[in-house]
């Protein structure tokens, strides 16, 4: 389990300074069942002294925004049709559940820690996905992860939500601190 105390990050109770690495497309390996590719990337980085990989849980809305030199290949993680219509699916999809289970299992097996960014590109959706709906996806993911952490107690996972909150997100500040008009428009 990855935890923090006043000043430190602890990997299974051991104080461990993080030297991480962006690995945005790591979950795509798991999306397509390429566990060998995922393990190769972990092993390669452990040889460099890297002890955490920062991975994106969804990249659907890179489509139309050709970020980082290639189109998104991590699709169908959520029921995007429902999300775009303002619905709030009550469970993670079967595909998402399998990917998350593989992530926890790999962390427990290899000792590699992960920063799992739940909502990496939903904020780029056009038309926008309401902020409250994104928050709902975050909560569903965290609820499922709680069960996985109990199943894989050695897994080293910390969860990032609302990626680049202030840079891109629509309505985050207003949702917490009040701006009724904008919040209403987005929800």
């Amino acid at each position: 389990m990855l935890t923090t105390d006043v000043k430190n990050v602890l990997f299974n109770g051991v104080v461990t300074p993080i030297l991480g690495r962006s690995s945005f497309k790591f979950m795509a390996h798991l999306r397509y069942g390429n566990l060998d590719g995922a393990k190769n990337w972990i092993e390669h980085n452990q040889k460099l002294g890297v002890n955490l990989l920062r991975v994106f849980g969804e990249t659907q809305y890179w489509e139309g925004h050709p970020m980082f030199g290639s189109p998104p290949i991590l699709s169908d993680v959520w029921d995007y049709g429902a999300l775009e219509n303002g619905h709030r699916p009550t469970e993670v999809t079967g595909l998402n559940a399998r990917m998350l289970r593989d992530l926890f299992s790999l962390s427990a097996q290899t000792g590699m820690a992960f920063e799992y960014v739940v909502d990496a590109t939903m904020k780029h959706a056009d038309p926008p996905i309401p902020w409250g709906t994104i928050g709902h996806c975050v909560r569903q993911t965290l609820s499922f992860m709680r069960k996985l952490q109990q199943e894989f107690p050695k897994a080293l996972i910390m969860v990032s939500t609302h990626n680049e909150w202030d840079a891109h997100s629509r309505g985050a500040w207003e949702a917490d601190y009040g701006d009724a008009d904008r919040t209403k428009a987005l929800n």
């Binding site: 990855l2 935890t3 923090t4 006043v6 000043k7 460099l48 939500t161």
Partner: protein, 315 residues
Amino acid sequence: MRARRWWKDGNTVISYGDPGGGFEPEQWPGVTLIVDHGGRNDIEYRASTSPHDYDMKTLHPRRDGNWWTVVERIDIDPFIPTYFSESKLWVDPEDNARASEWYSPNSYTTSLANYEYFIESAMEAGIHFTIHDEKGMQTDSGWPRPLTKLEEMLIGTSPPPPPPPPPPPPAANFKVNVSGGDPKGRRSINIELLDWPRVVKGGSEDFVVKQSYEVDLGKEYNVYAMGSFIGLDRGDIGEFDVEIDAKDGPGGYQRSLHKEESGIFDSFHMDYYAFTARYIVVHVSARVTAENVYANRPEGKLTARPHFGAYLFTK
């Protein structure tokens, strides 16, 4: 979003503040939850060690100006970990022509010296740091070059990997032969050390052979004498040692032969003792020390071929 639903033993309540009674924030209680702030050198969200808040001060530092010296300008909170989760993008210099068409000039760098300073100054200040580089973003083990310049730098500054553990010693290989005994009940017990004879090389301390055998005699015996056999059917000058002890008690049989010339020596030797034991430990060692011009040594110079045996005499 966070901590408005509270959870305990499968029960959920909704509250804007801690409802007490041992309820924890729902979602993922007790585990690290962060929010990545984009493009700022400080945060505008609540982060503290309180269970109500996010667990780290997590930043995407600004990428303009003297971005590599940002550590000098940020406020490092002494009461919560600080983390740079995403920052200036590293691009290998040889990819610059392509990268300049993909990324805005402010978002990336090809200066390894600046990036190295950036990492080291952050980590020296106790800031947790995630490297943000093009190969990492693509998460591509098959990147056109096996190691980018940044990865080469990391290998150079990383501590060397620990040496592999030494190979386990070979399993002790022995056989216990108990004689039928005489009319007074006295028996001899021969502990055959089946690893021997074998060739031992000289010329380096690495070649010295030391081996121990833990022997279960099957029951307790009253030992009144112990002996050993050291044979040397060919080879150079060396030192050959046999020791026999009760595993958790007395013993103390020690015999160390130094063969100094080609002549024969007393291969069998016995001493008297008095103790009771079931578990016996036999240690042997062999070291080839010098060349013997008269020696028969088909295995080459500075080699010898000893063999050992251990004996107990009981009543």
